[in-house]
Amino acid sequence: MNTVTTGIPAGTPGAVWLDEALAGVARDPDSVTRAFAFAARRVGRAPLRPDTDPGGVVHGTVDDAARAALVVALADAVGVGMGMGTCVGADADKDCADRLVLLYRQGDGAERRGVLRGFDALTERGDLGPVGEPTALVTAGLELAADALRANDPSLVAAAVGPFGARHLDQHTWRHAILKLVFQGVSLTAASDLDRRADDELGRMARDFAAERRAAGRSVPADLDRLTNTRLTNDQPTNDRLSSTKE
């Protein structure tokens, strides 16, 4: 079952298009390429949670969600999750992994986010198997997450620290991803399972970052509180816009 919530009202042209595209992928997995490219033009680009995330950076956009649903449909179409632990299951995982890597590599920024959000949906559905025994799909997801975490576009970084990243990224990579969110000014609500994975080393990194910002006379992002045991406050409030224009 496709469990992705897209927020597209039923019966609208966007919802009708997505239903047809999902059915199309079930019939012909290759059709996902075109559906991926056209998703935003058909369902729109609105943020999923406009009240707190007007740019759709933290929680993603309607087209991100539509693409995640297409990824789930693709996984179903090639048989992911049906023969877990068997050769058939491994073949399906490999096929799906190859297709998702290609979608990502040949995708624009939004399509890349869609693939990453698709890995989140597969993770939440329990399709990726236990941690510690990486399947071809998990290995592919980690390769793409690493690519996204190198990007300068914060929406890609945010999309790499959802449920998949929280479950599968190694601790070093995950810590750097979290600090990069703070550095880029993206709310830490983008990160799944933050409290479970945060450790003393991340706390140390966050405190050092805060000290560096204070030394520069700059404000300390409020989100850093979530990473440190000591409550950090801005001793000398400054206006970033006047004091600094560039990282």
């Binding site: 490219a37 943020p47 009240d51 950076v57 300068n152 914060p154 550095f183 880029q184 992002p221 224009t245």
Partner: protein, 292 residues
């Protein structure tokens, strides 16, 4: 003044330019794929460049409130290098992408048989993808090149209203208008065309199917030449509505034939606020953009 710059190579420009563009009323741009000064030697250089136009540059523009679009093609100069020509196999998949509003720049540089072949092949790809075409006219032997361009377009069967022939001047504008195509003018500090000659052409030919761009790139150029042309039009007695037609409605009408223009304001962007990291929004930091 609201402006869509239908031809500007923002990859070669700074963030100061983006701020100046927004402040002057430029809300959308189209960046045609072109050569980079230094010749490319492999397909990978092209695909990284195309990906950058559709990924990083779109993100960069959005940080400054500007909607960024692209046109994709193998340019005529590099069509002469067999190492580059292999990129033709990759172009159709790019033409499906969000924000790709035309095939371009295609056309002629030195008018070689290779350029003929690549031009015709890409006109076919435009037809297949349902996209209009942005055509570059040669810097040398421009009049002959324009004639040959229009012949090739006619032979392709592509409707002339789906073709924008660019970098025109006093000598070839009539040819293009008579063929039924859109006439594009690149306003430069000291070459191609300037804003006062442009005003004279608008007085002679009217404002229908006339399009003005800055074509700003890595050479000596000025991204605000669209604005300067609008100001020169007003000074010469054209109305605000005439300026709006030339600088906004005409390029919108041309590229809207792609069904792929996005012109609503960038969500989350606040005018007049420079991109700064860590801006507070309802208690949590949200993106205004930062380098990492």
């Amino acid at each position: 003044m609201r402006i869509l710059d239908p031809h500007i190579h923002m990859t070669s420009r700074t963030t100061d330019d983006y701020e100046a563009l927004y402040a002057a009323g430029v809300r959308a741009v189209v960046e045609p794929a072109f050569w980079l000064g230094q010749p490319r030697t492999s397909v990978g250089s092209f695909t990284d460049y195309f990906d950058s136009l559709l990924g990083w540059e779109r993100f960069r523009a959005a940080q400054f409130g500007v909607r960024h679009h692209a046109t994709i093609a193998l340019n005529p100069k590099e069509a002469n290098d067999p190492r580059c020509r292999e990129v033709l196999a990759e172009i159709p998949r790019y033409l499906l992408k969000d924000g790709v509003v035309a095939v371009g720049e295609v056309g002629y540089d030195s008018m070689t048989p290779e350029e003929d072949e690549v031009f015709a092949a890409q006109l076919g790809m435009a037809e297949e993808a349902g996209l209009p075409v942005l055509v570059h006219t040669p810097h040398r032997d421009k009049l002959a090149g324009t004639r040959r361009t229009l012949d090739v377009v006619r032979e392709s069967g592509l409707a002339p209203e789906r073709v924008l022939v660019d970098h025109l001047n006093e000598t070839n504008v009539a040819l293009v208008r008579d063929a039924g195509a859109w006439a594009g003018f690149s306003i430069y500090p000291d070459t191609k065309m300037d804003e006062h000659r442009m005003v004279a052409l608008l007085q002679e030919y009217g404002t229908e199917r006339m399009i003005v761009n800055s074509a700003a790139d890595w050479g000596r150029s000025d991204p605000l030449k669209t604005v300067r042309t609008g100001e020169a039009m007003l000074a010469a007695g054209f109305s605000e509505d005439d300026v709006d037609q030339v600088l906004w409605r005409n390029p919108v009408a041309f590229y809207e034939q792609s069904g792929n223009l996005v012109l609503d304001p960038v969500p989350g962007f606040s005018a007049g606020e420079p991109p700064t990291p860590g801006v507070e929004f309802e208690g949590s930091s949200v993106l205004r953009g930062a380098r990492a």
